[in-house]
């Protein structure tokens, strides 16, 4: 039973990060019908921006502000940095290709992904960087927490899940209750009709990228708070984010959240109960099964192509 609780806690933590990444994919796909391969690398850049800001604020050994403030500042910095990066990528790598055949922005995205990962390696080297949250909080974030049965859920994981939840609620609010959100939904339904209704597509797209990339930045910080980050994590994170978005139904925001959590659970339980080695394989099989039998995912709409 303890194992189950522990694995569930792990699953929630993992799933929250995956959900945040998947949301970025879903948002961009909904509006542009483009799978942004570079998104995983934006996530990686976010974790490094967080690391840089952490060093600027004194590093994990001698922080100049209290731990709470530090985490908030680092997250906000990463979100802002990634949002800017997302805007730049959209403006220079995707916008010129908006009217090109579908394959063109996909390949451009591959190029951006490759470029980002190797640029970060050029600038920061290949060594893993750790936020060292343990030292930062003198162990508090790791050792104190809520007790469920015999399992102690540390504060750090609670923070991860809560931040992700808050951000998702904020996103839901933005998309469903504001004008810009309405414009986003309209564009994702039918871009041409939206233009005719007076929606400024360029602004909507920029806004979408800002949102998606900011979420990726937050995910990067949440991720790096617990484990060391490296320049090579972008690729795998991207794959997992795709999987989550597709399982949940690409183009659907609640779908991305559900998909992320589902993926976290699948991975955690597979590693815990079946085998750590083949857990990747199991996750892929789930994805393939979805794509064959239910390509619209859990909560997506069945895609009817107009001729």
């Amino acid at each position: 039973m303890d194992t189950f609780i522990q694995l569930t806690v792990d699953a929630l933590t993992l799933g929250s990060v995956y959900a945040l990444i998947a949301l970025g994919y879903t948002l961009v796909y909904g509006v542009l019908k483009l799978l942004n391969f570079a998104h995983g690398d934006v996530f990686m850049v976010g974790s490094f921006i967080g690391f840089g800001v952490l060093q600027l604020l004194g590093g994990s050994a001698h922080p100049v502000v209290p731990v709470w403030a530090l985490i908030v500042l680092v997250t906000l910095a990463a979100m802002a940095g990634c949002a800017a990066l997302g805007v730049v990528i959209e403006r220079f790598a995707y916008r010129p290709l908006r009217n090109a055949p579908r394959i063109a922005p996909l390949i451009s995205a591959l190029g951006v992904s490759f470029f980002l990962a190797n640029s970060m390696q050029l600038l920061f080297g290949a060594t893993p960087r750790s936020y060292d949250t343990f030292t930062l909080s003198n162990g508090a974030l790791y050792l104190t927490g809520i007790d469920i049965g015999n399992v102690r859920v540390p504060l750090l994981r609670i923070i991860t899940v809560c931040v992700a939840f808050v951000l998702m609620v904020f996103l839901w609010f933005l998309v469903n209750k504001t004008r810009m959100g309405k414009a986003m939904r309209a564009t994702s339904f039918d871009q041409e009709a939206a233009t005719m209704m007076g929606v400024d597509i360029d602004r909507v797209i920029v806004f979408t990228f800002v949102l998606g990339s900011a979420l990726a930045g937050a995910a990067g910080v949440m991720f790096a708070l617990r484990v060391p980050t490296q320049v090579s994590i972008g690729f795998v994170a991207g794959l997992k984010g795709f999987t989550a978005a597709v399982i949940g139904g690409i183009g659907s925001i609640p779908g991305a959240m559900a998909g992320g959590l589902l993926l976290g659970f699948a991975e955690s339980y597979a590693q815990g109960y079946i085998s750590t080695k083949w857990s990747d394989l199991i996750v892929f099989s789930i994805l393939i099964a979805f794509m064959i039998f239910r390509p619209q995912g859990l909560l997506g709409r069945a895609d009817i192509r107009k001729v």
Binding site: L35, G111, D280
Partner: protein, 491 residues
């Protein structure tokens, strides 16, 4: 009234344009002949040369490489280039002709290599003769391509890309963990399979190296394989299947409406591509006498894609040219001295192409050179250690006085100058006219600075950064690559 329909394409009816005929297209030959007294007829002559003559000439040139240089290293690079050409040809079938974004392509390459290794090594004690092993591997590769194609029939562009990318990841996982699959060591795991047999036929073995120097025989075998594959694919392209692929690429919905077996065509293109990749894999495994899982991963995929996109997807000579350019360039970029030459050649070449031979070009070159010398002199005057650094790979003469290379590069300078260069380059795309020329000069100098100080000292990521940039720029400026055809998507 004269009959408006012309009797031959070169007829121009006396009373103006005719119905059902595109004037601009019809006058193409005239324009070409008129293009210059020397160039026009030359082009006309060249156009009449049959395609196989070009192929023979190319192969002859390739075969001459070992005669030009006795270095095992050069021959090794040439061999790798021929393998890349083969890979590019195979990918061209899937992406260029079928229009399917297959991101799992190098998994077939790896499969071919592993299959050959399993069939022809000490691993299981099986030692099939090469002439049997290669066809078996190619057939298995084709079947695997078919199997991958099966779930992909209903998937459109983006989804297909993910599924194939996952297949690549899957391949990697399975090969890496294959040493503990249910207790059996199937693939050697991360250590791979060693002591793979070289190619052997009629009692003779193709030895890989003599006294450490790479043997020429493998290179010739690779060229032979290349010739066979090129001709085979060319003929397939000319056939009904090739035409069907082209129509599938242009508009799958229309193709289906026209009654073409779209699913079958997709499967065929996957299959062909996989077969070519598997064939290349056997040569790779035999030459290296070993296979390791990590070789067949994302980086290799991007390299092959760059070759195909650069050369022009859909054009066989194009992708071969793409491979011919990218492979030696990648190899040259490993060494700072050669990388430097390459950088300046590309810089000057790029300027020539962008501005043609004109006054503007002269102004830019002169200004950049002057700017550089001035910056160097100022930096020297301020603090000698700012220019006292050693150029990676050694450099002398005027260049040493042009680029600023500090003795101790401050740690913040690397990210700032790199990001600054990217920022300035992006800004350049937004401004026009005199402002653009004015900003171009410091940008070029900054580029030289970043190249010398940051990228030449880290050649590995630098090579890949250039590849990534190349992909992005190509898709934006010239998606048809060098020799591809510009396609118009009809909405």
């Amino acid at each position: 009234m004269t009959d408006p329909t012309p009797h031959s394409p070169d007829d121009v009816p006396a009373d103006g344009p005719a119905v059902g005929r595109d004037e601009w297209v019809a006058r193409h030959d005239e324009r070409r002949l008129a293009r210059g007294r020397l160039l026009g007829p030359l082009e006309e002559r060249l156009r009449r040369v049959p395609w196989w003559a070009w192929l023979v000439l190319f192969i002859a040139l390739l075969a001459l490489v070992p005669a030009v240089s006795g270095s095992g290293y050069v021959r090794r690079v040439a061999f790798d280039t021929v393998l890349y050409m083969l890979l590019a040809l195979g990918l061209n079938v899937v992406v260029g002709w079928g229009g399917l974004l297959d991101l799992g392509y190098v998994a077939f390459y790896g499969f071919g290599a592993y299959a050959y290794a399993v069939l022809d090594s000490d691993k299981f004690g099986v030692h099939l003769p090469t002439l049997v092993a290669i066809p078996v591997v190619v057939a298995l590769g084709a079947i695997l391509g078919l199997l991958l194609g099966l779930p992909s029939r209903r998937l459109t562009g983006d989804y297909l890309a993910i599924v194939t990318l996952f297949f690549l990841q899957l391949f990697q996982t399975v090969m890496t963990n294959g040493d503990k699959a249910f207790g059996h060591n199937l693939t050697g795991g991360p250590n791979g399979i060693l002591r793979v047999d070289p190619f052997h036929a009629f009692g003779h073995s193709l030895v890989v190296q003599h006294q450490g120097v790479f043997a020429v025989s493998y290179y010739y075998v690779a060229i032979a394989i290349f010739a066979v594959v090129f001709v085979a694919l060319w003929l397939v392209n000319r056939s009904r299947t090739g035409r069907a692929w082209r129509s599938l690429r242009e508009d799958p919905l229309a193709a289906e409406a026209m009654g073409m077996p779209v699913s079958w065509l997709k499967l065929m293109s996957f299959s062909f591509g996989a077969a070519v990749a598997a064939l290349t894999g056997t040569a790779f495994a035999a030459l290296n006498a070993s296979v390791f899982p990590l070789t067949f991963y994302f980086t290799l995929l991007i390299i092959v894609y760059t070759m195909v996109i650069l050369g022009g997807s859909g054009s066989q000579p194009g992708v071969v040219l793409g491979a011919l350019i990218v492979s030696p360039v990648l190899e040259m970029l490993r060494e700072p001295a050669k990388g430097r030459i390459l950088f300046y050649v590309v810089l000057v070449g790029g300027a020539l192409v962008a501005f043609r031979v004109s006054r503007r070009l002269g102004v830019i070159v002169a200004a950049t050179v002057a700017f550089g010398f001035a910056a160097h002199a100022i930096a020297n005057a301020v603090d000698h250690s700012w220019v006292a650094g050693e150029h990676a790979g050694g450099v002398s003469g005027a260049l040493a006085h042009w680029v600023v290379v500090p003795a101790q590069l401050a740690r913040w300078l690397t990210p700032v100058s790199y990001v600054g260069l990217i920022g300035m380059a992006l800004v350049l795309t937004l401004v026009y006219g005199r402002l653009r020329v004015a900003l171009l000069v410091p940008t070029l100098y900054l580029a030289a600075f970043v190249w010398e100080n940051v990228m030449l000292t880290n050649p590995e990521p630098a090579r890949y950064i250039i590849l990534g940039l190349l992909l992005i720029v190509l898709m934006i400026l010239r998606p048809n690559g060098l020799l591809g055809e510009r396609r118009v998507e009809i909405i």
